[in-house]
């Protein structure tokens, strides 16, 4: 059979198959198709509605949430980073401060001064007892080319009520501060004011004293003449209205600038006096009030305007000529208890502190290079307080009184607290308490508290290593 014929035959068979196939009846798709289309339209309408809702509300909300999270993250990360960096710099500067405090006054040296005293303030008594007012005065000065004057000086005084504590560091022209209560950190720029020259009425001693008295709102009194570092000086006694401090200023007066070297006697809050000497420029200072710069006065050395001076970078070496100071350096007499222990001083530190008591103040004072006094103070709920002192015992000290007990193998005496005798600085204080006292070598140790006697006894027993011969490393 021809191929074409075969192919035609195949096509015939295919037609037979196509004709013979029994297809099912074709259903009408219209109704079902329209139903499907309506269902899709409903779905897409819902989708559109949801999409519109998401675009209208969801997207902005999501964006705001993401922005908020990022912002909070940055806000949280920034202070931490800044604080880390600032702390590193500040620690370095503090090291320089400590070095400067223990070294002779040389040109360009940065002298840092800081002292704090705490007193009970007025106001409602909270769970931590009465409000405490911590007054902090701090300043730094750059020693001038003559080794006696100051190139630059800043200071601030701050009253902090309650538990809020504020640390601050000076970095160049900036003061960085951090509030311990909430961790807030901030930077305040310190700007300098034009130099202030001596007014005509201040060129005489009487006029200066008068102006100083008016400006400082302090009790200023001329007491005589003296000589410091080969220079003639006038001696003025300066008593500030703060009840626990008294200053004696020796100052050098010329027509262009006001320079002073100050020796000051200060008292701790419980009435212990100690001395310290610095070159100072109290007239050129910054008064700080709640973090705001309210005034500043800066006097340059030798009458030069402040703008001509190098920037006040703490610790930076001066460009001025060298000067050999004729004064012996004054030893740094004040340490915290921890510093005192590190320096090898045998101070009494209580190892047991009753629950709820919070540290208020502690320190160790030196006299002639040896330990003269150590003290600590704690306050707690219900106006309770706990103080301890370790004083060098005078040769003619009165014998101890009270009920005899044993503390760490030594004889001690327990008696009731007598406010007029034990707390003369608080004559109106009406409290009941316990005093435990004993002698440790050359020192007399006394623990005073309004806490129950058993607690005071535990505190006293936890104090060891007292009374050894002090040693300064």
């Amino acid at each position: 059979m021809e191929k074409v014929q075969v192919l035609e035959k195949v096509q015939v068979r295919l037609r037979e198959l196509a004709d013979g196939l029994d297809y099912p009846a074709t259903p009408d798709p219209r109704e079902a198709v329209w139903k499907r289309l309506e269902a899709r339209a409903r779905r897409s309408s819902q989708l559109r509605r949801w999409r519109g809702f998401a675009l209208k509300y969801g997207l902005p909300t999501l964006t705001a949430a993401v922005a908020a999270i990022v912002g909070i993250g940055l806000w949280l990360a920034w202070p931490a980073t800044t604080e880390r960096n600032l702390r590193a710099e500040a620690l370095e500067i503090f090291e320089r401060y400590e070095e400067s405090a223990a070294s002779p006054l040389v040109p360009g040296q940065v002298v840092h001064r800081l002292w704090t005293w705490t007193r009970f303030g007025e106001g409602p008594v909270g769970p931590q007892g009465p409000p405490r007012v911590t007054t902090t005065r701090e300043s730094w000065e750059v020693v001038g080319s003559d080794g006696l004057t100051v190139e630059r000086s800043y200071s601030r005084t701050m009253d902090v009520v309650g538990k809020l504590q504020l640390e601050s560091w000076y970095l160049g022209q900036q003061a960085i501060w951090r509030e311990s209560a909430n961790g807030r950190i901030g930077v305040t720029d310190l700007s300098e004011a034009p130099p202030r020259t001596v007014r005509e009425e201040e060129q005489s001693l009487e006029g200066f004293v008068s102006a100083l008295r008016q400006d400082a709102n302090a009790d200023i009194e001329f007491v005589g003449e003296g000589q410091i570092a080969g220079r003639e000086t006038k001696v003025v006694q300066w008593s500030e209205p703060v009840p626990l401090t008294a200053f004696l200023h020796l100052f050098d007066l010329n027509l262009r600038r006001l320079v002073n070297r100050l020796d000051f006697d200060a008292q701790t809050f419980d009435g212990v006096a100690f001395s310290q000497s610095f070159v100072g420029e109290d007239r050129g200072s910054i008064d700080w009030n709640q973090g705001q710069l309210v005034s500043e006065e800066v006097v340059g050395p030798d009458g030069l305007p402040a703008e001509a001076l190098s920037p006040p970078s703490p610790g930076a070496a001066s460009v001025h000529a060298t000067y050999s100071p004729q004064e012996e350096p004054t030893p740094y007499p004040y340490f915290t208890l921890e510093q005192a222990v590190e320096k090898g001083l045998a101070v009494c530190i209580p190892l047991y502190i009753p629950v709820g008591m919070e540290a208020l103040e502690s320190g160790a004072l030196l006299k002639d290079g040896t330990l003269d006094r150590a003290f600590f103070a704690y306050v707690g709920p219900g106006k309770n307080f706990l103080t301890g002192t370790q004083d060098r015992r005078p040769a003619d000290s009165a014998p101890l009184e009270g009920r005899q007990i044993a503390i760490n193998g030594k004889t001690a005496f327990v008696r009731a607290l007598a406010t007029a005798r034990d707390l003369p600085q608080y004559p109106d204080l009406n409290v009941e308490g316990t005093v435990i006292a004993w002698d440790e070598g050359d020192f007399r140790v006394q623990v005073l508290s309004t806490l129950p006697e058993e607690q005071v006894l535990l505190v006293a027993q936890s104090m060891s290593d007292c009374g050894s011969e002090p040693r300064v490393s």
Partner: protein, 221 residues
């Protein structure tokens, strides 16, 4: 088709101007033109303008061939019906993308075939259905002495021969001989020139002939 056509609503087209397009001189002589007489392209334009009745007409026109295409692939009435409905839904939703210069039926059948193929794969994968076996007319009266069983047996043999072919060969033969598509429509379906479509059909038939000669020689005796 007749059953479908019986449900058709061949209503007059008001926008249509028969006097101009059909060359009528008088209003009284104007023939009554219905939607059933319009070409696919015009109906699609009407659908795009929002006329749902025109889409109904498209479904009526091509519903049967679409259903048979689906049925030949999936071999199940319900599944084929579902495929056709879904295909028309897709057509409606994508009608704006359709090129009016091209024939509508191949486009529809391509959609139907693709959907049907997917359904067949799903069915085979889930083993719900074995190879499709078509029904032949008069199957129910197969044992009757009145009916000559020879043509039916020949048809079954041809179907078996078709199943031996490659799917592409079987498909083009089915399009041409079972669904009656022309060369142009097949070329559109295959996305190739018309000559190529003819050539592929020829070679598919030739391979079918070879199969028949080897396996079913009685078909060509």
């Amino acid at each position: 088709m007749s059953a479908l056509r019986a449900n058709a609503r061949c209503f007059p087209i008001t926008e249509f101007e028969p006097s101009r397009s059909l060359g009528c001189n008088s209003l009284w002589e104007r023939p009554r033109v219905t939607v059933c007489d319009l070409p696919d392209g015009h109906l699609i334009q009407e659908v795009l303008r929002g006329d749902k009745a025109s889409f109904d007409e498209l479904m009526l026109r091509h519903g049967q061939i679409a259903f048979r295409t689906a049925y030949l692939v999936v071999g199940d009435t319900t599944e084929a019906e579902d495929v056709v409905q879904e295909a028309f839904v897709k057509v409606y939703l994508n009608l704006r993308k359709f090129d009016l210069a091209r024939p509508f039926r191949p486009w529809l059948l391509r959609i139907v075939y693709n959907d049907a193929r997917n359904v067949r794969r799903r069915l085979l994968r889930s083993k719900q259905r074995a190879q499709f076996e078509p029904r032949f007319k008069l199957d129910d009266v197969a044992n009757s002495d009145i009916i000559d069983p020879v043509p039916r047996e020949r048809a079954r043999a041809v179907w078996e021969a078709l199943n031996i072919l490659r799917p592409s060969d079987k498909l083009i033969i089915v399009w041409r001989h079972f669904l009656g598509l022309g060369d142009r429509e097949i070329s559109v379906l295959l996305k190739c020139p018309e000559g190529t479509a003819k050539s592929r059909l020829h070679y598919a038939l030739k391979r079918l002939k070879d199969v028949i000669e080897k396996r079913f020689p009685f078909l060509i005796e």
